[in-house]
Amino acid sequence: MSDYIEPDTPNGVKHHSNTTNDEILSNVDISNPFDDNNANSDFIQTDTYNVSKNSRGTLDETILETLRRDFTEINTTLKKVVYPHFPSRQLLSSTSTMITNESLSSSSNSANDQSIADISANCDLWAPLIFVITYSLCVSHAHTLFSSLFVLCWTLLLIMSLHMRLTKPYENVNMITYISLSGYCIFPQVINSIITQIIFPIILKMAGNRHWSIRIITLLKLITLILCELWSLTSISLVTNSKGFVQIFPLGLCLLGLGWLATIL
């Protein structure tokens, strides 16, 4: 028995010295499955997720590498859930159309279902945890209010998930997935808290606390609140396929509560 510890990833098959296996592997494409250039391969297309999950928790990589991979995964999900839904003029018009016309076309419905299923497959609670901690730290300035905000954030995520489960009992999505999706969609609120609690005070200090600068900063706070609220609301309603006032209004209330706390605290 050699001292070699086999890695969990399929890359490890390269190290086998077994002749029989080598023969088998000679017919197998063992190119790097993480390489995006190989996206045409059926094997990689269908099993990238499995490979990615299998590669988690390996002991033979640095902490930095693990963190980098986790952040990359979070960023990948954000690219699908949050980034594209910034309240641009075009998107707002399409969203308002969606709200007024409760029934979408069948094609967009199926696309949404697939999108939800895709994101559901990769749902995690790490990103929501990071966002909630960042939000609570920014708003509380790391003081005693942190714990209250932390609990409040998770309570609101739970309420939003419960609301979506209750209003859409036929959706093939479970509670944890809804919590994860809601957690991703508070990312704009985290940005709002960073801007209003860290960046604006710094700018105000640099401007010398003059009356006009306070007026402008206050106005900018309100504008940031509205933009981030719309961003969060658009993201969560599109990614969870929530349609109509009845489904969207409670989500808006919860997100508005979070945004308002960041604005006035």
Partner: protein, 342 residues
């Protein structure tokens, strides 16, 4: 897995104990009851082929109609409901096809209403002499918790936001002063105390008071409900008196719906009270105005309660014993609201 490359990799024996040694064994965790879902399943193609797994989705074609036209009924065909707990739901479904109250999906029937229905009830609750329910007769589908819960939450949020918004506009934008320096700490703390007070006050009034009122209604209703079901039409009892309680108000959910929509007036009253309260420090008459506004809101809500709870089937209206308690609770609520929030 039909992929040959994947199969070839599975065939590699690493001479170590592991999962690969049991690939030919049947999966003991495979859910045999999942057959119904699998039979209807379609494999969803990946949208983003870089990182997503192939996901099996149930075919919703058979339940599409139900989804588009949600009803308030418990949905005996709930066997199709939700993925994660579908097995539990199936096992827990009673003989009559109704879910037990311990499951989340049991309560989903109280949240199935269309936007038009909600808007219609909300607007009717603001008008005078209009029923929020579509008819006075007993209709289980008309009962819901959505309005009661989210109108109450909206009121709490409005009460929390509006004083802060007034400060932000008054000091931040008009005066150009920092709120932390201009507004006393006590006033800022009061906003958070008011949040707590509004939560328990509206929570109790919307969800606990209906339960108490229901007990009184059941005792007051002289005709009773021998079979446990509400009666549809007003009838005369032996003494010649009329059934005076609306059938929809004779159950807890219906009564919570009545109380929930009855709160909608406060969505407009509380911001007005906040404005008058902000000028009350300079004008003492503002306090009198506040009490006058509260009194008007009380009259409007009392009229609404009378309209929703009392039945006017034969045109003969007798103020039932229940209404004394309903109006009494409402007086207590209004006074508490004034003392705790202002």
């Amino acid at each position: 897995m039909s992929n040959t490359k994947y199969g070839a990799l599975n065939g590699v024996d690493d001479d170590l104990d592991g999962v690969d040694d049991f690939l030919d064994e049947p999966n003991p965790f495979e859910d045999s009851q999942h057959g119904t879902s699998v039979s209807n399943a379609t494999v969803a193609p990946d949208l983003d082929t870089k990182s997503m797994a192939t996901t099996v989705l149930p075919d919703y074609s058979e339940i599409a109609d139900d989804q588009q036209e949600p009803s308030g009924e418990p949905h005996g065909e709930y066997s199709n409901v939700n993925n994660g707990s579908s097995t539990n739901v199936n096992n827990s479904t009673s003989v009559h096809g109704e879910l037990p109250p311990g499951l989340i999906n049991y309560y989903s029937k109280f949240f199935q209403l269309s936007t038009e229905t909600f808007k219609g009830r909300f607007l009717r609750s603001l008008r005078i002499n209009q029923l929020i329910f579509e008819s006075e007769s007993y209709d289980p589908e008309s009962r819901e918790l959505f309005g009661a819960i989210w109108i109450t939450c909206a009121i709490v949020l409005v009460k929390f936001m509006f004083p802060g918004l007034i400060n932000l506009v008054h000091y931040g934008i008009i005066k150009g002063e920092r709120i932390s320096e201009s507004v006393p700490t006590n006033d800022r703390d009061k906003i958070y105390w008011n949040l707590i007070h509004s939560i328990w006050l509206f929570g109790i009034y919307s969800f606990v008071v209906p339960f108490i009122v229901l007990q009184i209604i059941l005792k007051d209703d002289t005709n009773g409900e021998d079979n446990g079901l509400p009666q549809n039409e007003p009838t005369n009892d032996a003494g010649g008196r009329h059934m005076t309680i609306n059938a929809n108000a004779k159950n807890l959910i219906g009564l919570i719906t009545v109380y929930g929509y009855g709160n909608s007036i406060w969505l407009f009253i509380l911001p007005i009270l906040d404005i008058t309260n902000s000028i009350a420090t300079r004008f003492k008459t503002a306090i009198a105005i506040e009490w006058a506004i509260i009194a008007l809101a009380y009259v409007k809500t009392a009229q609404y309660m009378n309209m929703q709870i009392c039945n006017r089937g034969n045109g003969h209206v007798r103020l039932p014993f229940t209404m004394i308690f309903v109006l009494g609770f409402h007086i207590i609520f209004s006074v508490l609201l004034m003392f705790t929030l202002y």
